[in-house]
Amino acid sequence: MSSMATWFNDFWSTYSTLVFTVGVHAMMALSLWLTLSCGLLSLANAAFMGIGAYASALLTLQAGWSFPAVLLAGGVAPALVALVIGVPVLRLSGVYLAMATLAFGEVVRITILNMDITGGPEGLNGIPLATEGWHILLLLALTIYVLHRLRRSKVGRAFESIKEDEVAARLMGINVARYKLLAFVLGSFIAGVAGALNAHFTFFISPREYGFENAVDFLTMTVLGGTSGLVGPILGGTILTLLPELLRFLHDFRSLVNGAVLVLVVLFLPKGIWEPRRVRAWWVRRTGVSK
């Protein structure tokens, strides 16, 4: 009767973690998109994810908080940290900001590595599997909704103008420092919630998952997907999570082909895979000429 059901059960028991990871990575790519949309090249988001993951896991394990409360706390904890470090760090821009946030990420990783309550290098084990598919779907949808609304408002326009020309934005009456802080803190909140979701389906977390490599991975997802819209980061997060799995049959050549795909995309689609605006502008120009 149920070879189909059996097949699905097999598939799900093997791949549910992968599907969940796609959702979490999409959220991470969106959180990076938010800071990038304000012109901030911040590499702190992996660390914020880690703070969210550890804060939520510890609240579950030690304080017995309910899952919704733990998710919220997972977002609030890194947001508070972002608020404190954002004020001095966001005075930097470009690669200097990238370096400072990178250093912050390392500080967070090493702190987690050396604390007792976090289990140090052993990580935290036995986190209850509270995350379900619809949790991730709902929170991802909520993230997309909020970012979409922001984009369509004066806040989104302020972000974009800061990205394009900070001085001109300032002279349009925009409080640049405040909007940068807003993007940074909101981005850290999203990353923290993603971390909390992640912690509650992987059973186990360790400091290694929130280091430099992950920070760069998330940045790659966003940039590869394209930063001009919300579809890009989701696409980038999905592709970069699935690609290594799809290439599994290549065995030893897997990472080689994975890298080649990235290089090709960057070479031929420098603005990312999803770039609707250029296409539309090109179309208008084209049809305008042909008329």
Partner: protein
């Protein structure tokens, strides 16, 4: 006194050992067009950067409507009613024209986080009004038919016009124009001249830096001449035209070959 919009008193600015401005004094009256001219490197753009808060003076005072602007961040100065354009155009190239102007309306869009998140009637009304206002300003500079193009695709002259519309969107009382006609053809210059006069006639103050002498002399009510960081002359166009110091600064002395 009550007629003075912007007053610059004993302002000096040094970059390291270089005195860019020394003891600069002049007043921009409301409802008039004021010109600041001078040879390249005289310090004209520095005056604009001081007024808009991008730089702070080493001495002196800058008052706008009787209140000091010293120490204020740029966005607060914009809020007080000063807008500017740039010598090297600084539009938002990856945004369309309408969005560019709507950024200028930022301060005048009043809706809270809830309105923004839930698309409330208040939010929709404010956004719609801003959109209409932006389109009106684009019409005013003759760019309304390009409202949904990326600013990047505009010609040099059109980019200047866009910057002009964007500056007006902040609803300034004083508009600072840094070489507004650079890169424009003669007929565009004539149109812009008319537009600037219109702004003045509505009671705004206009303060401009310009190299095009015909444009300045034809348009400005008063002119100050800056040379090597000092004001060497101040007066109406005729006085400036006949001032020997000004002639010397621009053309050199007769025995100076």
């Amino acid at each position: 006194m009550s007629n003075t919009l912007l007053s610059i008193r004993n302002v000096s600015k040094r970059f390291g050992g270089l005195h860019v401005l020394q003891d600069v004094n002049f007043e921009v009256p409301a409802g008039s067009i004021y010109g600041l001219i001078g040879p390249n490197g005289a310090g004209k753009t520095t005056v604009f950067n001081l007024v808009t808060g991008l730089l702070q003076p080493n001495g002196g005072n800058i008052d706008f409507q009787g209140e000091s602007l010293l120490g204020l961040p740029s966005h607060r100065i914009t809020h007080r009613g000063i807008a500017r354009t740039f010598q090297n155009i600084r539009i938002f190239k990856e945004m369309d024209l309408l969005e560019n102007v709507m950024v200028g309306l930022h301060d005048h869009l009043e809706y809270g986080t809830l309105g923004l998140l839930f698309n409330t009637p208040g939010y929709c009304r404010a956004e719609k009004k801003a959109r209409e206002r932006a389109l009106e300003l684009l019409t005013w500079v003759g760019l309304d038919h390009k409202a949904d193009l990326l600013a990047d695709s505009l010609s040099y002259g059109d980019q200047r016009k866009l910057e002009f519309a964007r500056a007006l969107a902040t609803e300034p009382k004083l508009l600072l124009l840094d070489e507004p006609v650079a890169g424009m053809n003669p007929s565009e210059k004539t149109v812009l001249m008319e537009e600037i006069r219109n702004i003045r006639d509505r009671g705004y103050g206009v303060f401009m830096i310009e190299h095009d002498m015909r444009f300045v002399m034809g348009l400005c009510d008063r002119i100050a001449v800056l040379n090597f960081g000092r004001i060497i002359a101040e007066g109406n166009p005729d006085q400036i035209r006949n001032n020997p110091d000004v002639i010397e600064a621009y053309l050199g002395k007769e025995d100076d070959q």
